[in-house]
Amino acid sequence: MKGGAKVVVEKHRHEGIFVARGKEDALVTKNLVVGESVYGEKRISVDEEDGTKTEYRVWNPFRSKVAAGILGGLDNVHIKPGTKLLYLGAAAGTTVSHCSDVVGPTGCVYAVEFSHRPGRDLVNMAKKRTNVIPIIEDARHPMRYRMLVGMVDTIFADVAQPDQARIVALNAQYFLKTGGNFIISIKANCIDSTVPAEAVFAREVKKLQQEQFKPAEQLTLEPYERDHAIVTGSYRVGKKKSKD
């Protein structure tokens, strides 16, 4: 086959996410900063009909739980163009960069990470992406960064801490709008390694329900991660409780 490998990029069911079909068989997002790879991922450039070039970045589900969830078949990812997203546990910002691709210039990603070393990579990534606001702070204390973060549409949490549900609830109280959405990635080992994963997931979901979250779906990330689940849902919907 002459003329190099051909790639076809199709739209995914979810808005702002694409699928590259060709020799590659990959989930991709439209690159916001053309010509730059964030963590050494592959880029695919495609010629449009009007002669312009669009660049896509490959989103590896083996490294990103959001991508794994999307490929696993989540009904609703709640991350789309224009979304304001609070991302807890951003690490080096690999997934954050893809989220920033998805939400686009009209959206915004507040990326919270506590450790300094991955935080440095995160800050460097955010320098090139104007819609990412890096916050190097403990997600357990949303008070400390309340001046930086506005109301958000969606919270994503991948903090892998035993008190994950509490952390998410605290942040949701401060920043998540009523009727907003949450996505939580649960690593069973990090919460309780002595009981089976399913029991841990069920327990976490129960904790979330007590905190005014309304889980809508739960999905294990099986081919991509072991003993991980992703839970999505909404916050403070339906009948309002009398207290609070």
């Binding site: 190099g4 051909k6 068989d25 990959a26 495609v46 490929l71």
Partner: protein
């Protein structure tokens, strides 16, 4: 009656030893010593007799090409160098270490390549490409990944069916390659640990005792059942090290 007589302690006869005057001749030979000596002598005598008859009846025209390479030294035939003792124990240990390191290197290379390939193959859509089960036991398939993916450009619309078919084939090949790489990496990793274990056991000092035999495990990779064995367990005798 006889049993009673046996019970009575009788005089113990001492074996006669070499008189002091003849001590220079060594131990005094007894019948049983003589028997052993004679039997050994006759065995040797018989062997010599056999060789002598063989030499007498030999065929002077017998020839093998191997004979041309044979040499004698001072009339004694020099056997071909015995290969088994070519290396010293120290050298053998070093060689084994290098083997382990090399296989380990190859294992990590293979794992890295598989990971790189997996980064662009995400099992998108349920077209069952990844689930296709083809036997891929061969380890010898050339490792040419064939990276020709530099300029990846394409049109988004109206694909002609031939191109579509080609793309599908490429994708299938890529998945097959990934599967092979992954299984190869797993096998190599297993081999590394097995070799490292053997080296450890071999080079460990001190007195050891086997406390558990090696045992087959049930889920062995095809063709590698011998590697999947749970290794034998040893216990070393405790020894105070200054």
């Amino acid at each position: 009656m006889s049993s009673l007589r046996n019970a009575v302690k009788r005089k113990t006869h001492k074996e006669r030893s070499q008189p002091a005057a003849r001590a220079r001749l060594g131990l005094l030979e007894k019948k049983k010593d003589y028997v052993l000596r004679a039997r050994d002598f006759h065995k040797k005598e018989d062997a010599i007799k056999v060789l002598k008859t063989k030499a007498a009846y030999r065929n002077p025209d017998e020839f093998y090409f191997g004979m041309e390479k044979q040499r004698t030294k001072d009339g004694v035939h020099q056997a071909r160098g015995d290969e088994s003792n070519k290396y010293t124990a120290e050298e053998l240990r070093l060689m084994k270490t290098q083997d382990v390191k090399y296989v380990g290197l190859k294992a990590s290379m293979e794992a890295k390549k598989a990971e790189k390939l997996r980064a662009t193959l995400h099992l998108v859509g349920a077209d069952g490409l990844a689930e296709e089960d083809e036997s891929d036991d061969e380890m010898t398939r050339g490792g040419g990944a064939g990276d020709d993916d530099d300029a990846a450009s394409a049109e988004t619309k109206e694909l002609d069916p031939r191109l579509k078919k080609r793309l599908e084939k490429k994708r299938r090949v890529a998945y097959q390659l990934l599967k092979e790489r992954e299984s190869r990496a797993a096998k190599l990793k297993m081999m590394t640990s097995e070799m490292a274990y053997q080296k450890e056991v071999q080079s460990a000092r001190g007195h050891k005792r086997k406390i558990k035999r090696e045992k087959d495990e049930e889920d062995a990779l095809p063709g590698l059942a011998h590697l999947k064995k749970a290794p034998a367990q040893f216990k070393w005798k405790r020894k105070r090290l200054k």
